[in-house]
Symmetry: C2
Subunit: 260 residues, 2 copies
């Protein structure tokens, strides 16, 4: 099932996609479905960020080639993580499918996409085994963990390198029926493929991360986890359009514009 | 004005404190005040975390002596930050005044308090000057940024060192009338004072942080910023009670218990 959040005359509403039609529902995610009876066309719907999370978790370094390439770019030895240590991103930076990524005036040329699988938590969980971990997952979406590498290298935290307003495109929707091992992530810039990788080829998979996190923290409905990206990203410039596709989920597309 | 969040038969409610009385209100923080007409005694009220934040910001290293002492404890040269780079904490870890801080079984002895000023944002703000920064502040509270130093040194992120469940006591309430330069923070463990410092003796003050942050990110009502702590903390053990007082705001008190 595919959940979308759309702007309506009465404010934000969730809906369920069937073909080209969005059937609006009264409830939020995670509740029993109650249709309003109103249907709109997906093509004309104004899509919103599909979830404003309770806590916005991010795995960071979670694909081997990305760790190696990032280390090379920074003249460091690669340091493959041996434990799943989760990080954080911030909701101010979220934008929806189609909305512009604004490159700040003072950002360097090293302004880059990162195509990521997004895990949406739908149930409360603590002390979960890896076998139990997927029981609390509601569905999956697509994220673009836009990063300014100079700030990422030089700042004490990743606050502006990764969390400047508009740096976190997410969407277009949340898909509940996903077979993790079948997913392929493909990133295209201006319709040219720049990377393609097996989505589930992570250093620590979704089950491992959820189980490890839940040993120390309680996950709750509305939390989400971005699972990291693969490879070395190329630079984005104003005028570019960045598309991130995950097979079985969809395509998240955002133009890049210059900040004023 | 002093805002408190209390548990009632009908769920969480905000109230305004006048002496020993809490007058319940229909609204949340930031809205026009509308009293329900119901009053309860502060002494018998079950206090809740006064705010579940939209984004939970934390200044981290923001007092000179703390930076020096932390570096000494880790056999490093102190590195006083020259820019206000904000970090993050997570809401799962929040507990209210009076609730127990649970020391995990596998935590080391280096399990420590950090007494901090909490800034609650009440208005939307972007690109604010330092002179404008306090215009978006709703009020102030007290936080205990409980930290497990071994995990803080060894993990790739501060996820469990600072964000394990119960590691973020906050409260007891939010005070809107505060003169930042008059504040004194005092930490007591089992009624013995362990540190006392001028709250506003920060490397980067509240105005500086808000102004710098707002150059890149939009602050919104319900965000909060923990401003860091001073000095070197001592270890907490199960059975201890940790009190953090900030003059003009109040005292946040939490017992420490052993995890099972």
């Amino acid at each position: 099932m595919r959940w979308v959040r759309v702007e309506t005359e009465n404010g934000p509403s969730y809906g369920i996609i069937d073909g080209d039609i969005v059937s609006l529902v009264k409830n939020c995610l995670f509740d029993d479905i109650e249709f309003t009876g109103e249907n709109i066309n997906l093509d004309s719907a104004k899509l919103m960020v599909p979830l404003v999370p309770k806590t916005f978790y991010a795995a960071g370094l979670n694909y081997a080639q990305h760790v190696i390439e990032q280390a090379k770019a920074n003249n460091r030895e690669p340091n493959i993580p041996n434990e799943p240590h989760i990080g954080y991103r911030a909701t101010n930076a979220l934008i929806a499918h189609g909305e512009p990524i604004i490159k700040p005036k003072d950002a360097s040329d090293e302004f880059q996409y990162e195509g990521e699988l997004v895990v949406v938590i739908g149930k409360r969980g603590k002390n979960l085994s890896e076998d139990e971990a997927l029981d609390i997952v509601f569905g999956y979406s697509i994220g673009n963990d836009v990063s300014e590498r100079k700030w990422q290298r030089e700042d004490r935290t990743m606050w502006r390198a990764k969390n400047t307003d508009t740096f976190k495109p997410m969407g277009p929707w949340i898909e509940t029926e996903v077979e993790l091992n079948n997913l392929l992530t493909t990133v295209r810039v201006n319709d040219r493929e720049v990377i393609s990788f097996q989505t589930n080829n992570m250093i620590f998979g979704v089950q491992k991360f959820i189980s490890a996190m839940s040993k120390y923290l309680t996950l709750i409905p509305g939390d989400m986890i971005w699972m990291g990206t693969e490879g070395h990203s190329k630079n984005l410039s104003p005028g570019d359009v960045c598309d991130i596709s995950i097979s079985g989920i969809g395509t998240l597309s955002n133009p890049v514009v210059a900040g004023v």
